[in-house]
Subunit: 398 residues, 2 copies
Amino acid sequence: MTKSLLRSLLDGQPPGTPESLIVRCLSQRGAISAAQIARLTGLARSTVSTALTGLKKSGIVVELAAADETAKGVGRPPATLTLNPEAGTCVGVHLSLDEIRVAVADVSHSFISEKTIPLGLDYPPDRAAKLTKAAIAQCYEENSLSASGLLGVGVSVSGPVSPEGFVQRASIVPTWAGVNIRHVFGPVLEQPIFAANESNCAAIAEMMWGAAVGYEDFVLFKIDLGVGGAIVQHGRVVTGIAGGAGEFGHMSIDPSGDLCRCGNRGCLELYASFNRPLEQIARVTGRRVTMDDVIRMAEQGDVGALRMIEDTAEMAGRGLGMIGSVLNPPLIIIGGRMALAGDILLTPLIAAYERHTLIKARDVAPDRRTRIIIGKHTENDVLLGAVGLVLSHYGRLQ
Amino acid sequence: MTKSLLRSLLDGQPPGTPESLIVRCLSQRGAISAAQIARLTGLARSTVSTALTGLKKSGIVVELAAADETAKGVGRPPATLTLNPEAGTCVGVHLSLDEIRVAVADVSHSFISEKTIPLGLDYPPDRAAKLTKAAIAQCYEENSLSASGLLGVGVSVSGPVSPEGFVQRASIVPTWAGVNIRHVFGPVLEQPIFAANESNCAAIAEMMWGAAVGYEDFVLFKIDLGVGGAIVQHGRVVTGIAGGAGEFGHMSIDPSGDLCRCGNRGCLELYASFNRPLEQIARVTGRRVTMDDVIRMAEQGDVGALRMIEDTAEMAGRGLGMIGSVLNPPLIIIGGRMALAGDILLTPLIAAYERHTLIKARDVAPDRRTRIIIGKHTENDVLLGAVGLVLSHYGRLQ
């Protein structure tokens, strides 16, 4: 009962009611005050207050105990509200290169369980769906959760996904190109399916729980074995007409450059991902190294490792400089495995951004400058974001 | 009385009321039906209906006679609603290279009057404000309009403008860099001042009256003596933290290229504007030509003129290909003087876009393809958009 009411409110039914607006706001933001709800929804304070009374009565919204007891001297602190954790659960699934990860969270944004399913390269969609179903069932059983409370499954895909759920060419898992995520998971899981590109998921994770909390507009730029990204504008992820927005790695910066896996030439990914630097270091040192190895080597002062990170930062900063001239965002979050290099990467990247972008930091007041920082959930952003798809009701496949 | 009520509703006061949402919606959209209002605001049909009764009673909203009498056979056509033309007027001002243009429109989106003030290069701000004031007064007098009905003045600037109204470096009128539009026009005109970059104004014109009606997301790309642009996302112009969004001309595509007027190297504007082609043609033909001359020459089959337009289209398509990989927009509108070349420009530009962008038309269903078209108001988009700033309540300087 509570679940079906919660589901219809999350679907915005009936449309435009204060109850539906408040439930979607809480689902997206986690725990916030009534005043914040009024500001974010544009509803009058009195309307929010009336609707909250009804939502609390029907068990959909709960009031959290004030965390800060020391505040009692300065009047009662405003109550923090959240969706009732018992009102429902969400599942996040990340389809990565050679494994599937599954996470379960409740609607108050708390994580309950997580599992990894090891697979080989190029695993087939039907097998993925069956193994995912089994892993979800196991999570619910181990944590004594009611399967009937499941509100939806968010699927993060390593490639662009169309609004209908089709995985586009340029996916890093080639066998999945042309596959429709809803057709694969919908009949097996029998749940509402949400899907998005993994970088869009990472952006949602940073927006809901991480470095972008409080920002309505930002850019996420991932530096890993590929280069990916996402754009959030007016509080919503920019999808693009065919799911191709935020594909920064495939800006063709040199039309006579090398062929890219996407079929174009001279894409930014060829110069700003950490693929070629790993090959260079292997060639010089005679041993295969990982990105984590190179970061460790750089931290210990290895000149070659430092140079490879700095050169990558220069190219990423050049690409971001162009993105800066296009979007002039308030915030750029650097994600991907190479973001774990911290300032070794960030310092030269910021210098390159400043050199190549139109609006320079020195031209504008401090509060008008673009901040460039490392993400907060770099190691787990994609899985977090897959759960966030359901909570934020983003990327629902119909 | 009506004016002050209209002004406060346009300001969204009190916040979130159906009346305020409806007035802002009508102000932005012109003439639409109650059903469209419900869809655009997210309000319930019954709420819209109740609020409209009150707004009609207070003379803020009027019902238009159905334009299509032939429709009577299929039931009464839905009434079209608009803000009462008598409830207020708006002024648009375009500060261009060597002249100022002024236009007056009513809140139902009808144009009443237009004037041009010829000036020399690098005209000073205080003189601009005084002459603008005189031109506005003349427009109102000649058309027997009440000056008390003026709701605000929208100013279009040939350069990026910060949200506070500061003209940024890279303005095409150098003396205006660092000047605050509100400080210049506010005290002289004694009206609410709105300001935006001229390309953002052009985008607003196309969104309100032109090629982008019905689109929530699109990109405008201007090819003229410079290259400019604008981004509309979720129905709103993307400003950027310092007003620098949409500066496509200053994407640095060749970091070792020629110095640009913005201080960077190898900006797209150097290759995709029509500045250098005019120099090339003048050198070869021995006479100075304008963009209109070149378009005429190309239409008559002049090989050199055709080649210059095609080369410009190639570079513009390359730049747009990158913007496509960033935003994957449903619609790209080509504006600027060179857009008047029509298919001579558009055909090679679309081919170049397809070659360089990630998501190719052939990869996706027809309704998932990026449409690239010529704007509807190319010759007057900036002045229209300056009026549109006030009507859409965009770029209000506080």
